[in-house]
């Protein structure tokens, strides 16, 4: 298939439709509104339904209903809207329903701004809603990867009966890049024999539920969920790394920030610095093991984020105190420059070479 030039937000919609998603429930919010707009145009053409809900709260609950009824379904939003969806996400995780969630992040807290940001790392990876739940969180760094992960995300959701989140920043959503829509590897997905589609007078009623009033029942449910999350940790973790066995300094960055880090690393290499990169593609499960491969004589890890330091917590867990971990970030919609990253790397080196 040939490559087409597409804006990130629209590419998400095209990828979702290619993945067989027929239902989209959403609410307008910048910088992701091109996605619901695209779905309102394109879903009716494939016999699907786009519905603009009265709120993000309603949208995620429509997703709950549709997912419980066996559909391939998604919603999208941006940071403050994603905050509103957390109640529904917790119920979806508790009731074990598959769906795809897209968060095109903007600056916060509160109404914040509409500029790109990575402020929802905690919200996405720590479970923004109540209760002990987890979900796979993809952090694509370009539009092609975004498309690939959207398509795969639906399969993962079905495979584990769990929500999957694609976490992009405003830049990924707004930028145009050439993309190719590849057919994903076929997975053996389980039948949705649990879905509420009417008994047809052929079986006992199916019930979609996250309520377990007896303590021992809820604990047993939680143990089952944790076993599922453990399996996800073992099999779904993804990471890209560069030159970490030989690096004096390793940068940890994801999404848009990782691209800026790559530019900085290329410049630093020309000046003779040895700088590696760990780019988590899944923010949960986090690629902790990758950090074990780092050159034991590495001088330090620099975490670069478009926020005030969130992923740095996972980096510290990953290095287990073996290396000093420092942070450079911009927030509020400000984007780190390669030169600023270079300056911070040189600081770890102890100044210019």
């Amino acid at each position: 298939m040939t490559k087409v030039l597409m804006k990130g937000n629209e590419a998400i919609g095209a990828a979702a439709i290619q993945a067989g998603c027929k239902y989209f429930f959403g609410y307008p919010i910048t910088p992701q509104s091109e996605l619901p707009e695209y779905m309102s145009r394109e879903l009716p053409k494939v016999g699907g339904v786009f519905l603009q809900a009265e709120s993000e709260v309603a949208a995620i609950n429509m997703v709950y209903g549709a997912a419980g009824a066996g559909a391939r379904v998604m919603t999208s939003s941006s940071s403050p809207g994603m905050a509103l969806k957390q109640e529904g996400i917790s119920y979806i995780a508790g009731a074990e329903l598959p769906c795809l969630l897209v968060n095109i992040m903007r600056g916060g807290p509160g109404l914040g701004s509409i500029q790109p940001s990575q402020t929802d790392y905690f919200q996405a990876t720590r479970g923004g809603g109540n209760g002990d739940y987890r979900m796979v969180v993809f952090a694509p760094a370009n539009v092609q990867e975004l498309v690939d992960l959207i398509i795969e995300g639906f399969d993962l959701a079905d495979q584990y009966r769990n929500p999957v989140m694609v976490l992009g920043d405003g830049m990924i959503g707004q930028m145009m890049e050439p993309v190719e829509f590849k057919t994903p590897t076929k997975r053996d997905l389980p039948e949705k024999d649990w879905a509420t589609v009417g008994t047809g007078d052929k079986r006992k009623p199916n019930i979609i539920n996250s309520l377990y009033i007896a303590a021992e029942d809820l604990e047993a449910h939680n143990i089952r969920l944790q076993a599922k999350y453990k399996k996800m940790q073992e099999t779904e973790c993804r990471v890209e790394s560069y030159n970490i066995e030989d690096a004096d300094v390793v940068i940890a960055a994801y999404g848009t920030t990782s691209r800026i880090a790559k530019t900085a690393i290329a410049k630093l290499e020309k000046e003779g610095y040895k700088v590696g990169l760990i780019r988590p593609i899944t923010l949960w499960p986090y690629p902790f093991d990758e950090f074990k491969k780092i050159n034991p004589n590495c001088k330090g890890i620099l975490t670069v984020e478009m926020n005030n330091g969130q992923m740095i917590d996972d980096v510290k867990i990953a290095v287990e105190g073996k290396f000093p971990v420092s942070f450079y970030g911009r927030s509020g919609g400000m984007v780190p420059t390669p030169d600023a990253i270079i300056e911070h790397v040189k600081k770890i080196y102890g100044g210019d070479k």
């Binding site: 339904v49 589609v197 007078d201």
Partner: protein, 248 residues
């Protein structure tokens, strides 16, 4: 021997958790009977959100989804849009529908969502132990209105049927009570008409059922029926507020 009455197949054969004298049991039976009589039990999908009826998934003998507090109309919307040929209903209380879920019920009606809602109005939060609801009457005591509700502090109780009847997409709106056999028969007739509206694709339908909560009202079951008649029925007039002929 001729069987003159038997338990509806619309309900499962389990004991409910409802308090003695609570009218949920009557309404459950009516809904179950109507599902069977209309021949839609096998394609029915019900949604019961948080509140006393949260365990309704154990009682209705059809596919069920448990929903977050107030969100049943949104969940039902998701289901109905995926399966337009199935019969989809919500079963909600007044704390749920008239307080935390006002946006969801208003907009389901506003879209003319082809779902049916059973709305239990007992003027109190039952499940959480008798707190004030938007439907609690002036002067009525509740655990969060220990001296009784005042208009100055909490406003007048909200009249859901009257409000929803102003919305074009609400094709059927009726308020009934289950305080005596005659009214129970009327309630069943209203539920049936409401469900038929959905089957005919005419839009959103709701039946508000004035119900009792002897436990949290602090009354015996007969006293509670009397209280409903003397206090709720004058403020919440029974009757049809909208049916399809009135929908332009």
């Amino acid at each position: 021997m001729t069987i003159v009455f038997e338990k509806t197949k619309g309900l499962t054969d389990v004991q409910t958790h409802y308090c003695p004298g609570c009218t949920h049991g009557i309404v459950h039976r009516l809904v179950g009977e109507v599902l069977v009589e209309l021949g839609v039990l096998d394609k029915a999908i019900g949604v019961a959100p948080v509140g006393c009826s949260v365990f309704a998934y154990n009682y209705f003998n059809c596919d069920m989804q448990q929903a977050a507090h107030g969100r049943a109309p949104a969940v039902a919307t998701g289901i109905k849009r995926v399966h337009p040929d199935n019969f989809v209903f919500t079963y909600q209380g007044d704390g749920d529908l008239a307080s935390i879920g006002t946006a969801e019920i208003v907009h389901a009606a506003h879209r003319g969502e082809k779902i049916s809602t059973i709305f239990i109005n007992n003027a109190i939060y039952g499940m959480t132990g008798g707190q004030m609801a938007p439907t609690t009457l002036i002067g009525q005591k509740a655990t969060t209105a220990p001296l009784g509700r005042t208009e100055e502090h909490s406003g007048r109780p909200i009249k859901v049927s009257e409000m929803l009847a102003t919305i074009h997409g609400a094709a059927f709106v009726e308020r009934v009570a289950v305080n005596n056999p005659a009214n129970i028969r009327k309630a069943k007739k209203a539920i049936k008409e409401c469900f038929q509206i959905q089957l005919e694709g005419k839009g959103f339908g709701i039946v508000e059922v004035l119900s009792t909560c002897p436990t949290n009202w602090g009354l015996t079951a007969p006293e509670a029926m009397k209280w409903l008649e003397e206090n709720m029925m004058p403020y919440y007039p029974l009757g049809n507020y909208r049916r399809p002929e009135e929908v332009e």
